[in-house]
Amino acid sequence: MSGIADYLAMGGYARFVWPAYGVAAIVLVVLWVLSHRRHRSLEASVRALEPEWRREAP
C-alpha cells in the first residue's frame, strides 16, 4: 500500500506532476468531444436538408 502512496507522492512533487497530466488530459479531451459533437450535429443538418447525402459518396 505504501508503495502506491509513495508513487503517487512523486518524491514530494505530486502537486506539480499530477496537475500537469490533468490539465493536458482535460484540455485535449474537451476539445475532442466538442469537435465531434459539432461534426455530428452538422452531419444531421445536412441529412435533414439533403436526405440522399452520404459521407462517403463518390
Binding site: G11, F16, V17, A20, L28, S35, L49, E50, E56
Partner: protein, 241 residues
C-alpha cells in the same frame, strides 16, 4: 485530373473518413505506451527528481504548438496562392488544436518552473514568445470568424497566419539567442539527442501520440467545415427557390 479536383471536398470526405480510424488507433497506442513508459518505467532525473515526468507532456505539447502553427501558415499560403478552399479549411481547423497545445505547454511549463526555477513565470524570450504564439492563434480564430462571408474571413486570417509565422523561429531559437531560465534543445540537436533513451523513448512516443491526435482531430474539424458550407449552400438554395 487537375490538382484542384484531386483536393475536392467530396474526395476529401471519402479518403479522410477511411484514414481517421487508423489515426485514432495510432494515437491511443502511442499515447498508451508513452504514458506507461513515462509514468512507470522511466527513472527520476538525477537533478530534477520526479518533476522530470512533466517533460513527457510539456515538450510534446510545445512541439505540437509549433507544428500546428507551421501547418496553419503553410495551408494559409496554399490558400492565398492557389485559392484552394480546402487549404483554408485545414488552417481554420488547425487553429483551435494549436491553441490548445500551446495552452497545455504554457500551463505545464509553469507547473515545472515553480519547483525547478522557483517561479511560475518569467518574462524571458522563450516564455514570452510562446505566449505571443498563443495570442496569434486566438487572433487568427477571432479574425477568421469576424466576417459573415467565410471566404473574406479566411483571406484576412490567412494573411495574419503568414505574418505571424515570423514568431515560430523566434520561439525555436530564443533559447540560443537570449539568456533565459529555459534549457536549450536536448533532442533536436546537430550532435544528436543529449538525453538517455529511457527518457527519450517515452518522450518520442508521446510526441507521436499527440501528432496522431492532431491528424484524427483535424480530419473531424475539416469535415465539419465542409459540412457547414454544405448546410449554408443548401439553405441559400432553398431560400432562393
Amino acid at each position: 485530373m487537375s490538382w484542384h479536383a484531386l483536393a475536392s471536398p467530396a474526395r476529401f470526405m471519402r479518403y479522410s473518413t477511411r484514414i481517421r480510424p487508423w489515426a485514432v488507433a495510432a494515437c491511443l497506442a502511442c499515447t498508451g505506451a508513452g504514458l506507461a513508459l513515462g509514468l512507470f518505467a522511466s527513472p527520476p532525473d538525477y537533478q530534477q527528481g520526479e518533476t522530470v515526468r512533466i517533460m513527457y507532456i510539456h515538450v510534446p505539447a510545445a512541439w505540437m504548438a509549433l507544428f500546428c502553427y507551421t501547418a496553419m501558415a503553410a495551408s494559409s499560403a496554399g490558400f492565398l496562392v492557389w485559392k484552394q478552399p480546402l487549404a483554408e479549411m485545414a488552417a481554420r481547423a488547425t487553429a483551435p488544436i494549436g491553441a490548445c497545445f500551446t495552452a497545455v505547454a504554457l500551463v505545464t511549463g509553469s507547473l515545472w518552473g515553480q519547483p525547478m526555477w522557483g517561479t511560475w513565470w518569467v518574462w524571458d524570450a522563450r516564455l514570452t514568445s510562446v505566449l505571443v504564439l498563443f495570442f496569434l492563434y486566438l487572433g487568427y480564430i477571432a479574425l477568421a470568424e469576424a466576417f459573415d462571408d467565410p471566404v473574406k474571413g479566411g483571406k484576412a486570417a490567412s494573411i495574419l497566419a503568414l505574418v505571424g509565422f515570423v514568431n515560430v523561429p523566434i520561439v525555436k531559437f530564443s533559447v540560443d539567442w537570449w539568456n533565459t531560465l529555459h534549457q536549450p534543445a536536448s533532442v533536436a540537436r546537430l550532435d544528436g539527442p543529449s538525453i538517455d533513451s529511457s527518457m527519450l523513448t517515452p518522450l518520442l512516443l508521446m510526441a507521436l501520440g499527440f501528432t496522431f491526435y492532431y491528424v484524427a482531430l483535424v480530419i473531424t474539424r475539416i469535415q465539419a467545415l465542409v459540412l457547414e458550407r454544405r448546410v449554408r449552400a443548401l439553405q441559400q438554395a432553398a431560400a432562393g427557390m
